[in-house]
C-alpha cells in the first residue's frame, strides 16, 4: 500500500495542483451559469489574457508577478463588466444566443492573441527564486507548482468561506437558487449578477497569471481551458462552489493519477469519467439550481 502511494505520490500531488487550478477557473463559470443562466464561451479567453499578462509583465523577479496580479485583477474586472454588459440584452434569449455572442468574442480574442504572439507558445517563467525543483521524500517536484498549491488552496478556501459563510455569499446562493424570490425581497439582482460575473472573470484572469508557468500562453489553450472548465462545472453541479471544488479535484486526479495508472486509455479518461458521472447523477455531484 505504501509502495503504491510512493510510486504515485507525485501524480497525486500534481493532481491537487491542477485541481486547484481548474477550480479557480471553473468557479466563476459555475456561478455565472447557475445564476445568470449565461453560457460564457469566452471564459477560456480570460485565462489566455491572464497568461499573456504574466508573460508580458514578468521581469524575472517578484515585482513582475505582483504587477501581473494587479493587471490581472483590472483586466478581469473590465472583461467581466464588458461581458456582463454585452450579454445583458440577451438575458431572455436563451443559452444559444449567448453562446453565439461569446463564441464570436472568443474567436476575436484568440485572433488578437495570435497576432500579438505570432502563433508561438510564449515563455512564462515564475520569479527567479521559484524556478527550480525541490526534493521531498526522494521525489523531485517543481517548486512553483508546490507554491501554487498553497496559494490556490488559500484562494479556494477564501472563495468557499465567502460563498458559504458570509451574508454576501448567502445573497449570491439565494439568487442562484431562486432569483425571483430574491427580487421580491427588494434586492436588485442585476447588481448581484454583475458582481458575480466580475468576480468570476477576475478569478479566471488571475488564474491565468498564476497558472501561466504551469499551463502557458499558447494558441489553443483558451479552448482547452474552456472545455476543462465546462467539464468541471457540469460534474460538480451548476451554481455550487462546493461542487466546483469537488468536481475540479476529481478532474485533476483523473487527468494526472488516472493517466499514470491507465496510460493506454488516457485519451478517454476525462470524457469517459464525465459521461459516467452525468449518467448516474445528471445534476452533477452537488445540485443547487432549482429545476424550473
Amino acid at each position: 500500500m505504501v509502495g503504491w502511494f510512493d510510486a504515485y505520490a507525485v501524480s497525486i500531488v500534481d493532481g491537487i495542483a491542477f485541481g486547484l487550478l481548474y477550480f479557480t477557473l471553473a468557479v466563476g463559470l459555475s456561478l455565472v451559469f447557475g445564476m445568470m443562466d449565461v453560457l460564457n464561451l469566452a471564459h477560456g479567453t480570460l485565462y489566455l489574457a491572464g497568461a499573456y499578462l504574466a508573460y508580458a509583465l514578468s521581469d524575472g523577479g517578484w515585482g513582475g508577478l505582483v504587477l501581473g496580479l494587479a493587471a490581472g485583477i483590472a483586466v478581469g474586472l473590465g472583461g467581466g463588466a464588458l461581458l456582463a454588459a454585452m450579454t445583458q440584452p440577451l438575458a431572455h434569449r436563451g443559452h444559444l444566443d449567448q453562446a453565439l455572442l461569446t463564441l464570436g468574442l472568443s474567436i476575436v480574442g484568440a485572433e488578437v492573441f495570435l497576432l500579438a504572439s505570432g502563433g508561438e507558445p510564449l515563455p512564462a517563467e515564475p520569479p527567479a527564486g521559484l524556478r527550480g525543483s525541490v526534493e521531498v521524500l526522494g521525489h523531485v517536484y517543481p517548486a512553483y507548482r508546490l507554491l501554487f498549491i498553497g496559494v490556490a488552496g488559500v484562494l479556494a478556501l477564501a472563495v468557499y468561506l465567502a460563498f458559504e459563510r458570509s451574508s454576501l455569499g448567502a445573497l449570491v446562493r439565494a439568487t442562484v437558487a431562486d432569483r425571483d424570490m430574491v427580487r421580491t425581497l427588494g434586492v436588485d439582482t442585476r447588481r448581484v449578477l454583475f458582481g458575480v460575473f466580475a468576480v468570476g472573470a477576475v478569478l479566471a484572469v488571475v488564474g491565468g497569471v498564476l497558472g501561466a508557468p504551469i499551463l502557458g500562453p499558447a494558441p489553443g489553450i483558451d479552448g482547452h481551458v474552456l472545455v476543462m472548465s465546462l467539464v468541471v462545472v457540469v460534474i460538480g453541479g451548476l451554481g455550487s462552489v462546493r461542487g466546483a471544488l469537488l468536481g475540479a479535484l476529481l478532474v485533476g486526479q483523473v487527468d494526472t493519477l488516472g493517466r499514470a495508472i491507465a496510460p493506454d486509455y488516457a485519451a478517454f479518461l476525462l470524457f469517459g469519467a464525465m459521461f459516467v458521472v452525468l449518467a448516474v447523477r445528471p445534476g452533477g455531484l452537488i445540485s443547487m439550481v432549482k429545476s424550473a
Binding site: 510510486a7 504515485y8 500534481d14 505570432g118 515563455p123 499558447a218 489553450i221 499514470a260
Partner: protein, 399 residues
C-alpha cells in the same frame, strides 16, 4: 436598436457581402461543368500558390515557410526561371478541410502554375486527389506522410515522416549500452517517427513498448505522469517526438521533474522559436535533422546570413530551408521547361533538374519524389550566448 436601424444595417452588410463575393462568383474562364485548363500564359508573370498555415497552431511554421520562399525570390529579383513571379498565399488552417478550401482556391480560382508549402500531413492527404486530378505540380516543403507514394504531381523537398527517427536508430544502437525509452505524441507523425526509430534500432535496445501521449482533441500539457514512469524505469536514454507547444511543455517539465536521462529526438523538438520558450531546459538535448543553421557550405553561408538579416526572422529553420529549396526547384524547372510552360510540362521538367545545391548540402529527388539527403546530429548549446542547435556530426544518408 429599432427595427428600422437594424434593417438598414443588415442591408448594408448584405450589400458589402455581395460586393465582396461578386468578383469570385463571376465565371471567368468557364463554368464548373467544363474541364479545367491549366494556366500556361506566355511571357507574363507566373502565378505560384503557397498553401501555408496563417491561422491555428501551425502558423509559426507557415510563417517560416513563407519567409524561406520569399527570401529566395528576393535574392533572385523576384524571378523564377527568368519569369516574374506572383506569389499567392492561401491559408492552410489547421484542419484537412481548411487546407482543402485553400487548395481549391489556388487551383480553381487563381489557376496557379504550381503550388508549394503544406505543413500538415492531414491536409496533404486531403488534397492529393485534387492535385493529381488538376495535374498541377505541388512542390511540398514540409508535410510528408509515409503513405504518400505512387504520385506523379507531388514532390517534397523536406523528408519522409519516418526519416528523422530512422537516422537516430542506428546511432543510438551503436552508442548506448542500455535501453531507450520511447515516448511520442499520439498522432500519425509521432507513430511514423517511432516506427522509423524502431526500423533501425536493434530490438534489444528498446525499453518496453513505445508510449504515446494523447494529442487530440486536447494535446497533453502535463507530462508529469509519464515523466514519473520514465524516471522509475532503468532505461539509459529517452527518445521523444514533440513539436510546437507540446515540445515546450515536455522539455520544460523534463527538467522540472528531474529526469536525468539523456534526451534524443527528431529536430522538431527544438527547432525554431520553441527553443527560446524552453530556455536552459533545452541544453544538452540531441536531435536529428536534415539541416543545421551552422552548416558550412557556400549555399548555407548565403542563406543563413541573409535570413538572419531580416528583422524578426531569427535563426533559419529546416522549414524555411525546405521552402527556400522549393523555390530553387521551381527556378531550375521553369528554366528547363522553357517557352512551353504549362503545369504539365513544368511537372515533367521537375523530374529533370538533377542535383540542388542547397543550404543543407547537395541533394536530389529520388524515385518517390522525396530528397536523397544527409542527416545530421545536433546538440542544443549556447552559441555566443544564444541557444541553438549546434552541428555535432553527420548521422547517415537516407532517401
Amino acid at each position: 436598436m429599432s427595427q428600422l436601424d437594424r434593417r438598414q444595417a443588415l442591408k448594408l452588410f448584405a450589400g458589402l457581402g455581395a460586393a465582396a463575393a461578386v468578383p469570385s462568383l463571376a465565371a471567368c474562364g468557364g463554368s464548373s461543368l467544363s474541364e479545367d485548363s491549366g494556366s500556361g500564359s506566355s511571357g507574363g508573370p507566373i502565378k505560384i500558390g503557397m498553401l501555408a498555415p496563417q491561422s491555428g497552431v501551425y502558423k509559426v511554421i507557415g510563417d517560416d515557410m513563407i519567409n524561406g520562399f520569399k527570401l529566395y525570390l528576393q535574392l533572385h529579383g523576384n524571378k523564377l526561371g527568368g519569369r516574374e513571379v506572383d506569389l499567392i498565399i492561401a491559408d492552410e488552417g489547421e484542419t484537412g478541410d481548411s487546407g482543402r478550401a485553400g487548395a481549391e482556391k489556388l487551383l480553381k480560382q487563381d489557376k496557379v502554375l504550381a503550388m508549394t508549402g503544406v505543413v500538415s500531413s492531414a491536409v496533404m492527404g486531403a488534397i492529393v486527389d485534387m492535385v493529381e486530378t488538376a495535374q498541377v505540380p505541388l512542390v511540398g516543403s514540409n508535410a510528408s506522410p509515409t503513405t504518400l507514394q505512387g504520385v506523379t504531381y507531388i514532390w517534397r523537398t523536406s523528408y519522409v515522416n519516418d526519416e528523422p527517427g530512422k537516422a537516430l536508430g542506428e546511432y543510438l544502437g551503436r552508442t548506448l549500452k542500455g535501453t531507450v525509452y520511447c515516448i511520442a505524441a499520439d498522432y500519425q507523425a509521432g507513430k511514423d517517427e517511432v516506427n522509423g526509430l524502431l526500423s533501425t534500432l536493434p530490438k534489444d535496445k528498446l525499453y518496453g513498448d513505445p508510449v504515446y501521449t494523447p494529442f487530440a482533441p486536447n494535446p497533453t500539457t502535463n507530462f508529469q505522469p509519464y515523466l514519473t514512469a520514465i524516471k522509475q524505469s532503468d532505461a539509459e536514454a529517452v527518445f521523444c517526438f514533440y513539436a510546437g507547444s507540446s515540445a515546450v511543455e515536455f522539455v520544460k517539465q523534463y527538467k522540472q521533474f528531474g529526469v536525468n536521462k539523456r534526451l534524443y529526438a527528431p529536430g522538431f523538438l527544438t527547432e525554431g522559436k520553441v527553443i527560446e520558450s524552453q530556455g536552459d531546459a533545452a541544453l544538452g538535448i540531441f536531435t536529428s535533422m536534415n539541416y543545421a543553421a551552422d552548416l558550412d557550405n557556400p549555399a548555407n553561408r548565403t542563406f543563413a546570413s541573409e535570413y538572419q538579416k531580416q528583422p524578426g526572422w531569427g535563426i533559419p529553420t529546416t522549414y524555411a530551408m525546405a521552402s527556400y529549396d522549393a523555390a530553387a526547384v521551381l527556378d531550375k524547372a521553369i528554366t528547363i521547361a522553357g517557352d512551353d510552360l504549362t503545369p504539365q510540362s513544368l511537372n515533367a521538367a521537375i523530374g529533370k533538374i538533377g542535383q540542388i545545391d542547397s543550404p543543407r548540402g547537395a541533394w536530389q529527388f529520388n524515385q518517390n519524389r522525396t530528397p536523397l539527403q544527409k542527416w545530421y546530429l545536433r546538440e542544443v548549446r549556447r552559441d555566443g550566448g544564444v541557444l541553438s542547435n549546434v552541428l555535432v556530426s553527420e548521422l547517415t544518408t537516407l532517401g
